[in-house]
Every structure is written in C-alpha cells, then in structure tokens.
Symmetry: C2
Subunit: 240 residues, 2 copies
C-alpha cells in the first residue's frame, strides 16, 4: 500500500477511497493515475467545462465552490484524502457546475476522466466507496445550506478552520482572511472581525496567511453544531 501510494517525496500517504481496495483493483487505478503536486488556488477543473481529470487527494486539500452572479463564491464542500474531487464523473455527468481548486497545496493522485470512467466497471469496491463518499458529501453540503442560513460568521469561521485542520492533520496551515471570506461567502472585513475575536479569545493565532489552532477544544466550542454533525459522518466513512 505505502509503496504504491508513495508520494513525490517518498513518504507514504493514503487516500481513503483506495485504502480498502483489493490489490488487483488498486493496481488498475494506480496504472492510469499519476501523483502530482498541486499548488495553492490551482483549479482541478472549472465550472461548466468538461472534467479532464479526477483527483484522489493525498496531502492536498481541495475546495468546491459555487459561484453566483458572476463573482460571489461560497464553498459547498471541502475534500481531502478522505474522498474524490470529480464526483460528477462517477455519477455519469461530463460537466459540473462547481469549481474546484486547491486550498492547501500538496500531492494528489490525478486520473484522466476517460480512464477513470473505463476503470469503474471493473472496480466494484471503488464504486461502493465512492457511493458512500457521495452520501457524505451530500450531507456536508446539506448541512452547509442550513449553517450558512442560520449561523453567524464567527461560528462558521471556527467550523471552517476545524474542517481544514482535520484534513491537514497539523495545527498550523496556510489560511488567509481573504480565502476564508471566499469560503464563507462574506467580505474580508467581516472575516477580520470574526478572526480577531477568535484570536483574542486565545483559540487561534495567525499572521500573514499562516493560521495556528491554539486551543482545539475551545475552537470546537466556538463553532456551531454543524461541525460535529458533519465530522461524525466523515469519521464513519473513514472507518469503513
């Protein structure tokens, strides 16, 4: 396993969609995939365009955003090594209305969409995993509908930071207020107020695009309940 998914630096890394695959099925995926390094804000695909590749993130983290009225963006899902970027290909569509881009740079197993489509009929276990991931994504997105409608920016910001921390696995990671604003669908100035509130409460520390979670427990309390709901669903997914 670790050998097959060794990343560019030679470190073992894992994607949970591929983890339970029998060796034969895993080999088929790896045969057509390529481990690539994705850089910050690099798009995986653009809205409306045919999807050229799907991504199984290894250390990279992607954001799926919806854009309204041409400019305003809101994140609809975050995808790390627990899932796949490009579900629409799995679901039989050739295009997608969401944009996906890299939130935290890192490595990702990139598979051409055509190869991926060809490979699906031969990999039942992968289909099963992806179906469960689709369900988790639906729940994540559904919760975001309610969360964005009901909760304050401060609570949502706390939740969003926890989501990223879960996926990077470290307490320090790249995050600017500008980016957080794009994710939450609010102005950067509003993020500034929410963030400095969290900072003065001793929950986080940040400077020029580097975010550190200081008091994880406290941040969980500052976040809305949506965090725990979605987290539970993804914990279950990872444990399958």
């Amino acid at each position: 396993m670790s050998a097959q998914l060794a990343n560019l630096a030679g470190q073992a890394s894992v994607n949970f969609m591929l983890l339970p695959l029998p060796g034969e099925q895993l080999r088929r995926v790896l045969d057509v995939g390529e481990v690539v390094r994705v850089t910050s804000l690099e798009p995986a695909f653009a809205a409306g365009e045919p999807v050229a590749h799907v991504h199984f993130p290894l250390t990279a983290i992607f954001s799926l955003v919806a854009r309204v009225d041409g400019h305003k963006t809101v994140e609809v899902a975050t995808v790390g090594n627990e899932g796949l970027v490009g579900l629409s290909v799995f679901l039989g569509a050739s295009t997608t209305l969401n944009e996906a881009f890299c939130q935290v740079p890192g490595e990702s197993l990139r598979v051409p969409a055509a190869d991926f489509r060809r490979l699906l009929p031969e990999t039942p276990m992968l289909r099963r995993q992806l179906a469960r991931f689709t369900q988790a994504t639906l729940i994540q997105t559904a919760q975001a509908v309610a969360c964005n409608t009901a909760h304050t920016v401060s609570k949502r910001a706390a939740r969003r930071l926890l989501m990223t921390q879960d996926r990077v696995g470290k307490d320090t990671f790249p995050m600017t207020q500008e980016f957080l604003g794009l994710m939450l669908g609010v102005r950067r100035a509003t993020v500034s107020e929410a963030a400095s509130e969290l900072q003065s409460g001793g929950l986080i520390r940040y400077s020029r695009g580097v975010m550190t979670v200081v008091d994880r427990r406290g941040l969980e309390e500052a976040a809305c309940s949506c965090y725990a709901v979605v987290r539970a669903e993804f914990d279950e997914l990872r444990s399958l």
Copy 2:
C-alpha cells in the same frame, strides 16, 4: 407504461427515474412497490432513523430539510416525479441526516428499503438514472448553499415558488407562508412581507394556503439566477 403506473384514481402518471427502464426491469420495481397517497406534511422518513421506504413520487412532491439547533429548518432539496426520495439507500447508507416530508399531497410509488436494495443489482438502467439524479441533487443543494448565503428572501421566495410550480405543473397549488418560511429558513413575518411584495407586483396571488402564479415570466425575473441554473440541470435530467 401508463398501465403499470396508473395511480389510485386510474390516471396515468410517471416517474422519470422509471420511465426509460426496459419492461423487465420496470416490472421488478413495480412488483415490490405500492402506489400510496401521501398527505400534507406526512414524513417519508425522519432524521437519523433507518430508512424504511424509498419513494418514487408520482403526483406528490417532497421536501428534504436540514434541521439545526433542534428547531430551525431549511430546505436542501425538493423532489417531485423527476426523482427519488431516499437517495441515501441508493448510496449504501442505512440512515440519513435529512428529514423528508410531503410538501404537496399526491401519489407516490413506495418501495420498502430492503426490497429496493435487493433490486438494485438487477436494474442497471435504474442505477444509471439514479446516479444522474444524485448529480442533479448535489447541484441543487450546492446552489442552495450559495443562494441562501447571497440572495434576499424575496428573490429566494420567488425561486422557491417556481420550483414547486414546475413540479405540480399547474399554476395553483397549496402553499402557506408558514411553510415557505420553514423552507427558506426565515420567520413567517419575513415571508409575509416578501409575499405581499410579489403579490402587489401582480406576480402571484394567494389566500389562506392557496398560491396562484399569475405572471410566470415576471416571477422568473423576480427570482434569483439560481432558479435558471438548477432548472437547466433538471431539464437535462428529464430529457435523458
């Protein structure tokens, strides 16, 4: 086709997930399904509980809502005869975090979850259709995230009315301000202001739970662009 799906009143009605099935596969679905009449606000299933049945709506319309903080609700998807209520069963989960209940009473083909699971491996065309519907639902929900974050209640109300009208196929249908408030995640009083604005503009007419779309074109202009985006996706789904 019309014979197999004749509803309780003997009228032909159709569910687009079943429409393209070859006779053999359709028969298997109908063998285990039962056409039932669902009444207003009747739940298809509750959050967190095992899903006992899935529904292929015929003339009924269902709402999927997310609940936060125990009371506040927001709609995450509307499902009429273009889809299935109970996607989580299709996706391999036994429970769901969303609640689903009947928005517009009517008839629905109800299939026990266990039978549905058993039937899936034998009905590839149904799986294909449901995968496409899953994609459309993801897009609908993703758009709702952005819409609820970015748009005014008035525009969202207009959009929501159009969505229901599309599914009932008539310009008059049941809709109270209370219900609309639950869907939009806002107070009833806020809906009252938005609705009377739309009414005085000559776009709709309503009284005691009966809504009539008077100026369809005008209502489309009053709605946010999210309507057209989601509508296009579902038009494509129906035409497959």
